[in-house]
Subunit: 163 residues, 2 copies
DNA sequence: CTGTAAATGTTATAATGTTACAAATTTTGC
DNA sequence: GCAAAATTTGTAACATTATAACATTTACAG
């Protein structure tokens, strides 16, 4: 590998957030979908770091905003964002993360660091190819793939025991 | 593909169950682990079909047995069975399924039919290879992989719309 | 036996997610 | 513009999944 991926090196995270919001506005406009204030705010909260956020964490942040929210508010916003490819749900964590390939047609693969919690989303065409091949060898028609890899990111490997 | 995999064709399911139990006993003996009556019963319940079973479904069955069980009983048994590679948890369904490769060192890949609910566990070395490659290109040390494919199994494709 | 560790029982509670219906807002057809 | 329709949001209650904490029982080693 050459340079480390974004979550694994210092970066101006505000740029991540504003890029995500800008992309989201464009995507919603193109799809004639309404990125309402609540939905945009939830997206912004999800993007506050590269660690996935639980629905109830989002709810808590909304409450801190002074917004009088209940679970359905958050789940509805998250559903909307998922449907438009703006966030992903990480099944193994029951949590949500901003999509870094919004707009592209992709099958996400997530590298989840068990130490720092950061998640990197990859597009791995070779993996998708092999998955489809394996599925079709069984006569199975694959529709949606959940692919989540837990382990140690480069930074946390360096910190914990130099092996 | 030649013949359909077990879950997708008629078969003597009792044989699946007794094979699983026999294997489990052998594996536990080898590992000096205690396959107590509760644990064995939970394994048997998990194996009652090729559809994943929720923890509370197991709990319900135990109660029907006349066994006075509470959630921790089930979760503890399931933890034990997972740790010894006898069942898998399907993260996208919050449910558990018997392992068809018990004893082998493997990364499970699950084909989950959204119509009939049956799950086929595959060992897909080529997929694992590509996953490891993609992870290490990012400097990530992969430890555990969650790979779940939802879609339509051969039988359900045949039934719903012939395309 | 007896002391220790492992397993199980029991109660309560935490965390995650959904249903159902009411109210408000936005869009659409006229 | 304006009323009807559709979408979005508010609200309360509830369903599902999972864990914590501590008591009791059972298995095993000396």
């Amino acid at each position: 590998m050459s340079a480390r991926a974004i979550p694994y090196r210092p970066h101006n995270h505000d740029a991540c957030v504003s890029q995500a919001l800008t992309d989201a506005r464009a995507i919603c406009q193109k799809q004639n979908a309404r990125l309402t204030p609540i939905r945009e705010r939830v997206l912004e909260l999800i993007w506050q770091s590269h660690k996935p956020l639980g629905a109830y964490d989002v709810l808590g942040e909304l409450s801190s905003d002074g917004h009088n929210a209940a679970p359905p508010t958050v789940y509805r916003a998250l559903d909307f964002l998922q449907q438009h490819g703006l966030v992903h749900r990480i099944a193994s964590l029951n949590a949500f993360i901003g999509c870094t390939h919004a707009g592209e047609n992709h099958t996400g693969m997530f590298l989840i660091c068990r130490a720092c919690g950061n998640v990197l989303e990859l597009t791995a065409p070779d993996v998708s190819t092999e998955v489809c091949k394996a599925a079709s060898e069984e006569g199975f028609r694959a529709e949606t793939t959940t692919l989540e890899i837990a382990g140690l990111c480069p930074r946390c490997q360096a910190e914990s025991g130099h092996d």
